[in-house]
Symmetry: C2
Subunit: 229 residues, 2 copies
DNA sequence: GAATGCAATATGTCTATACATATCCGGAAC
DNA sequence: GTTCCGGATATGTATAGACATATTGCATTC
């Protein structure tokens, strides 16, 4: 068989795994053998198999060969959109209201996440995001004041997120999802009952040295995130 | 400068983006120029840049060149472990109890997800997963009977998941996360109050033609998933 | 029989070269 | 000025060859 392109080879290998020509746990033929079978260079086979290994479908070890993974699905990739884009992608009108913007001492759990160097005061910004005028998510954000210029940008107009993306060097971060009961404050803002189950997204963004910002998003009941495996 | 290995080159490019040598929106030097600067072949540069493009840090187009992405973080990759592995990774003892195993007509929302061809009866399996003897998650699973052999495997001993992985050809699927209030049944099984906020994972697995299984996991309050960006 | 070391092997990576392909830009035609 | 076309250019991909590296399994030694 002659296939053209490493993607065609990848798909053929994927197909053989799906229809169980090669069963989970099996060692599949070596790159050299497959190169001969498919009539291409070994490098092309390597590209295809390396891609499938990255996707978790294959496990490869030097000398030991390539085998079909026993637990093929181990990773899911989620898009993490900016809220505005997420709302607009649903065909709704995105708006936001600035509920608060203060300089406050960091609450203990926030300080713990952002690092001890920031035990002093942080800028606290609270925003309500609306989709077609209906509450969509409540955003509580703590900002490291060191990253802001002295006349603070007008966050009532430009969203903090959009300003940060354009103006601050990003290095790493992490994100977490959880389910929590609505507290009285958030419940009131979102217009739901106290104790309603909310989908929570927490995101920490770190710069080269210190934390830049910590965001906690509380989504209205019914919100869900979904992705194809 | 001479760097060895495409990963070193990738890291150097990443560094330059982080410290804003190259700013979001900038076009960076061509592969040929970088190859000369780093003292390597163009193919090696291509590997490094293609990797960063896959991670969403760069945007590449033929002839137009390579530019630093304007919204660098757009995807998060989560590990989706088998529950047993997830519990054991915490250093806890994984156990499970089979709560129910029946043949039932599919509830409407489940039938809608799994496809109309399965409007008949499905196998329903309910499992409680325990970590160190404490409730960890409630699993409700609907199985397409067509994928099971006639004397049904003994799911009290082998978990359904483990049996499926080893015996059924997998093709695609999707996964969703949500927050929901505990119903009376799940609340009782997990030992929490009715209405407690639960983190829900729903997974649909499709075979080549029909849906294979739909799983709904209700995690105890406090459960969260987290990943580095 | 057990321990050790060496050779065989499969993957990982790099190189140099070549051609394919998309796209930008400038020049020609109107 | 506008439109259209072709050349230049950057990336995408393929090739053969080479060496690196991890690991297996056999053979030798004790």
């Amino acid at each position: 068989m002659t296939l053209q392109g490493w993607e065609a080879i990848r798909d053929e290998v994927k197909r053989r795994i799906r229809v169980r020509v090669w069963v989970p746990g099996d060692v599949i033929p070596s790159e050299a053998d497959l190169a001969q079978e498919f009539g291409c260079a070994r490098g092309t086979i390597n590209r295809a198999l390396a891609d499938l290994a990255g996707a978790g479908l294959l496990e490869r070890r030097r000398r030991a060969g390539t085998r079909v993974a026993l637990l093929p699905i181990r990773h899911a990739r989620f898009a993490i959109p900016v809220i505005r884009a997420e709302i607009e992608a649903r065909g709704q009108l995105a708006r936001h209201q600035l509920l608060a913007c203060d300089t406050l001492p960091a609450p203990v759990p926030v300080a713990a996440r952002m690092g001890r160097a920031l035990e002093g005061h942080l800028i606290y910004i609270e925003t309500l995001h609306l989709a077609d005028g209906q509450p969509f998510a409540h955003e509580a954000r703590w900002l490291n004041p060191a990253v802001l210029p002295d006349p603070m940008p007008d966050f009532a107009r430009l969203s903090v997120n959009e300003w940060l993306v354009a103006n601050v060097a990003f290095s790493t971060g992490d994100i977490a999802f959880a389910a929590e009961a609505a507290g009285s404050r958030v419940a009131q803002v979102l217009g739901v009952a106290v104790g309603a189950p909310l989908f929570i997204t927490e995101r920490l963004t770190r710069g080269q040295e210190a934390a830049i910002t910590f965001v906690r998003l509380s989504h209205v009941p019914g919100y869900r995130i979904q992705t194809a495996l």
